[in-house]
Amino acid sequence: MLGRLIEMIENDAASMAKDLKEKLLSDPNTSSYQTLADQALYQNIFEIYSRLGHWLLRDIEKGEVKTHYSSIGRQRFEEGFPLHEIIQALVATKRHIWDTMVEKGIIRTTRELDSAVDFITYLNRFFDMAIYYTTLGYYRELQLQKAS
């Protein structure tokens, strides 16, 4: 059942990524994202949604999350993004998943609700790690710059 919820999101990844991209580009709280090429931004989001199962379930030790998001934090620092906008974008990415599930009425029965509780646990754990490691990567790069 949990797998089914994740699969539904993965199958809808393209349209969800397109919707979220438009939201990020029009939100004044994530205005730095307007400096990214549209296609690159879309790909970043699509990569999360289309491989949600991998991120939530298979990267159990969070090794890839640590490497990937620390790298994104460093990259965004180099690109001059304010950190709070990066966090806002990741929060919006997470929220869009939940909003889509609610909008499509994916969770209806008691069994699905039970799986939803598990899904929420995994989803939050992934995005908490993503935000933490992005912040860590950004902050370490900032410290290096201050030291040099």
């Binding site: 205005s31 730095s32 307007q34 400096t35 990214l36 090429a37 549209d38 620092f77 690109e79 001059g80 993004f81 304010p82 950190l83 709070h84 906008e85 966090i87 806002q88 929060v91 997470k94 929220r95 939940w98 969770i107 008691t110 609700l113 039970d114 939803a116 509780v117 929420i120 646990t121 939050n124 754990r125 908490d128 935000i131 933490y132 912040t135 860590l136 902050y139 900032l142 710059q145 201050k146």
Partner: protein
């Protein structure tokens, strides 16, 4: 909850929201001491929150207790007012002055959230005050609260970094406008590049298509 918003909601939804809010507050308040103790142990032992080991135990306990009770306050009264947002912005500034690294502060908030969520989610196993629907809705409120907390702590912390000489370039409106204009110019140039033909052979047919260099 603001009266205006309450009046706009259908009556059943209003009643459900009020009942749920009260149940979550009661559940957390009844277990606040135990929860604070458990979260404190986690912060003291976790590698991502090492600076918290230098804080007096009573102070740390009070900080954690404050987060739990602020969540209750936010549920009950503050979701629209923004006092909690201002509190966490100030907290970000305070933690900067105290010498904490921002990743540690964020990790501490997430460890706190995780423990609160585990506590709420575990109530589905017992004969508890919350049914499954309410647990799912409670998660939504918990996540939203901590999203605000983390975001505004980061804003406050960044304001202090700015006072001490660092500002993210794209925080400056002129630099942002320049960067956006540069991106739009690059995209325009990419679209206007001359197309070159290429031939490929698929399914027994020769296909002619165009690609752009680079």
């Amino acid at each position: 909850m603001e009266l205006q918003k309450l009046l706009e909601m259908p009556n059943k939804a209003v009643w459900r929201r009020i009942v749920l809010t009260k149940k979550i507050i009661d559940l957390i308040e009844a277990n606040a001491l135990q929860l604070s103790r458990e979260i404190k142990m986690e912060l003291l032992l976790h590698q991502s929150t090492r600076s918290y080991q230098n804080i007096e135990e009573k102070t740390l306990h009070d900080w954690i207790y404050d987060v739990c009770s602020r969540f209750s306050y936010w549920l009950d009264e503050d979701r629209e007012k923004g006092e909690v947002q201002q509190h966490y912005k100030n907290l970000g500034k305070e933690r900067f002055r105290q010498g904490f690294e921002l990743p540690e502060v964020i990790s501490a908030l997430y460890l706190t959230k995780r423990r609160l969520w585990e506590f709420i989610a575990a109530s589905r196993e017992t004969d508890s005050a919350l049914n499954l629907n309410q647990i799912v809705e409670a998660s939504f409120l918990l996540v939203r609260f901590f999203d605000h907390a983390v975001l505004h702590v980061s804003e406050g912390y960044e304001e202090m970094l700015h006072e001490y000489g660092y500002e993210a370039p794209l925080n400056n409106p002129e630099r942002l406008a320049e960067a956006i204009a540069a991106k739009e110019k690059r995209q325009k140039e990419f679209l206007e590049e001359p197309k070159l033909p290429t031939f490929s052979y698929t399914k027994g047919m020769i296909r002619l298509s165009y690609y752009r260099r680079g």
